[in-house]
Amino acid sequence: MDIEQIVREVVEQIRKKKNVPQEIILDVPLLEEGLVYSREKVVGVKEPTDSATIAEAQKITPARIGIGRAGTRMRTKSYLDFQLDHAAAQDAVKKEVSEQFLEKLAIPILKTKAQSLSEYLMNLDSGRVLCDESVHWLQQHSEKGKQVQIIISDGLSTTGIEENVPNLLSALEQGLKMKNISMEKPIFIKRSRVWVQDHVASIVNCDLVISLIGERPGLATSKSVSAYLIYKPTKDSVEADRTVISNIHKGGVQPLEAGAYLSDMIADILIKKVSGVKYTQTKE
């Protein structure tokens, strides 16, 4: 006899004893929990040529493959998985980086002109410049004239920052130290966008800025970080002047690996004195 049946019988006995209507008794929580959602990948193709091949393929990519179909549409489970991941991604945008995390990171916390999340999302300029107070702080406290400035930006994924930055930052700093590349102290800038690096560079007067920024959350990963590098930005700098390494997270480029790779790349950019598309061209 299974547990559910035992519970039902006990409940039924109580109902009879106390002579209470059935619908009230049904509200009493049963010993067994309700349904539990499983997010595991399953082969959804009905009668495949080779199920093992599909299961294997599902392991080598986070893409939604091997999910099968109902007519031309998704099967119910895949549809619900999609809805679930979309909900989680939307929630990730709204979260702020936790105070405990910032304390543990132990680097200066600066702010942009964006005063709220909605201002940050709707007005790009607000996240591209430091607020007056942070400008003042940076002028007072930065050493100035070092080779590299590291910026951590929350961007659109605070979970990405919390998950990846500790390993990424330490690997990057270690790599730069080993190459004797001088660094300003890394800074964290709340509600900031990539272009804030141009503003920071104009104050600290470094050769290269690298921003580690939370990427907008996708469905497969809401925890991804990108690195944007620019050599001597000016007010005329454009997107194509920035070198980007994206998808740094545990399902993409591993944070420790990325840190080492980025420090090699920084050393190379400092020698070639150019970043972005022009840097790619130097490798012809």
């Binding site: 193709v45 040529t49 091949t53 939604r64 493959i65 031309t72 999609f82 998808n247 993409g252």
Partner: protein, 453 residues
């Protein structure tokens, strides 16, 4: 030229054609961010009305960015057919709208007058159109192009199979590619967005996609969507490339931000004809979308829709095989929600077609905008009804490399079946040989990537 008028006892004064165009636009957050949007609903209607009374000549003589100052303006004006323009210069925008919608105006007549229209005129007339207007007008215009397959034939709908992987792992890309092909997606192109934008990496992805196409005899073309300079280097080094990609915008300044200009596009197009693997003559693939100029701070105070139309006028110069609109890819600062995204998709499809392009649409949304799957599917159905040439095909609709949502392999198959469209001719025969499709419908084998074992 009259730039003022009175409605409901209120006087409205506009200072330029540029301001009028911006204020006549439907509401979009990007226009609000750049402070060019109408300040009230009544002002919006006033702008539409006054715009409707302008002549095409008024617009021709007042480009939103001067000819001398902007390469995009120059490319657009230099390809205008003066004979046709002179015939219609006295038309008002209002007349142009009715001419486009009139039963007696044929597809051929529309293609002809399009050669005399500047992109601003096309944006202007789109601003006087509702959703059904845009669909009806779009249905009339269709451009075909040929690379290895022919895109844009009546009754056919194509898809780009987009098998991205977050770290460009070959096995992962091939797995998604097989999945897509098994749903009948991939006749427009097999187009991979690389994570690593180096020449070596791009060449490797071109090689693996090319070899897969060869091995299975698939009538299609491959493309790796890296920066054009990187692709050019890969091409010159002998990487097998059938189609060359680049993102474009509607101002010289924004294109400079993208690291691209006319000279570079001419060079790329030249080398594709010389060294590319495809038969052509259409060997370029462009991506566009409302909002890139404003997000790059390169909009010159012009509204997003007008800039998008200019992007099409610019793109036309290189006779692309496909132009893909990805409005909704940027975020809520340009298109706030599903409603704005759907409107932009309909506008862009129409404007692209009237600018003479073989257009496709990618109804997309990001997770930080107010939009969901329902909005996206509505946009997909409407633009398919309006006669888009192609859509993206992304596994489960979720791009695991670019982190946004686009049309899925399932959506692709659904759009074909619900509207009775077939795959591109050459590709349909291949699907039938593979046992994936029969009489335009998926067979039980479809959706099974292990058929490629």
């Amino acid at each position: 030229m009259k730039l003022s008028g009175r409605i409901k006892d209120q006087h409205f004064q506009f200072s330029s054609v540029t301001e009028l165009l911006a204020k006549a636009s439907e509401e979009k957050s990007g226009d609000r961010m750049s402070k060019v949007a109408a300040e009230s609903s009544l002002e919006r209607v006033a702008a539409k009305w006054i715009l409707s009374e302008l002549t095409l000549k008024d617009i021709y003589e007042n480009p939103v960015i001067p000819y001398e100052k902007d390469e995009v303006t120059r490319v657009i004006y230099d390809q205008i057919n003066n004979h046709i323009y002179n015939e219609i210069a006295h038309w008002t925008v209002s007349y142009l709208r009715e001419y486009i919608l009139d039963h007696s105006t044929t597809s051929s007549a529309l293609k002809r007058i399009s050669r005399g229209l500047t992109s601003e005129m096309i944006a202007a007339v789109a601003k006087l159109m509702s959703s059904i207007d845009l669909v009806m007008a779009s249905q009339k215009i269709r451009y075909q192009a040929h690379c290895n397959t022919t895109i844009g034939e009546p009754g056919r709908l194509a898809f780009r199979c987009q098998p991205n992987h977050p770290t460009d792992k070959s096995e992962g890309i091939l797995a998604s590619l097989k999945e897509g092909l098994s749903y009948g997606s991939g006749d427009a192109v097999i187009g991979i967005n690389p994570n690593n934008d180096s020449v070596e990496s791009v060449s490797r992805l071109l090689t693996i996609s090319h070899e897969f196409i060869q091995k299975w005899g698939i009538p299609t073309q491959n493309c790796v969507l890296a920066h054009i300079t990187t692709q050019l280097q890969a091409l010159k080094k002998g990487a097998p490339m059938a189609l060359m990609f680049q993102s474009l915008a509607g101002t010289e300044k924004a294109n400079r931000d993208f690291g691209v200009n006319k000279e570079l596009l001419d060079e790329a197009s030249y080398y594709m004809m010389k060294m590319g693997t495809s038969s052509g003559p259409n060997v370029m693939y462009f991506e566009t979308g409302q909002g890139s100029e404003v997000s790059l701070d390169a909009d010159h105070g012009v509204d997003m829709q007008t800039l998008e139309s200019r992007t099409y006028g610019y793109a036309r110069h290189w006779n692309p095989f496909m132009v893909n609109n990805v409005s909704g890819f940027i975020g809520p600062e340009t298109l706030f929600d599903g409603r704005q995204m759907i409107r932009a998709d309909l506008e862009d499809l129409f404007m692209g077609k009237l600018n003479g392009l073989p257009m496709g649409i990618a109804p997309t949304y990001t997770n930080h905008m107010e939009s969901d799957q329902n909005d996206q599917e509505i946009a997909g159905m409407l633009t398919a009804l309006a006669g888009a040439n192609f859509y993206m095909g992304v596994p489960g609709g979720d791009d695991v490399m670019l982190s946004y949502q686009d049309t899925s392999f399932h959506d692709d198959a659904s759009l074909r079946e619900m509207l009775g469209f077939r795959p591109l001719r050459e590709f349909e025969i291949w699907l039938e040989t593979m046992g994936i499709m029969e009489n335009g419908r998926l067979t039980p084998k479809a959706g099974d990537l292990s058929i490629f074992n």
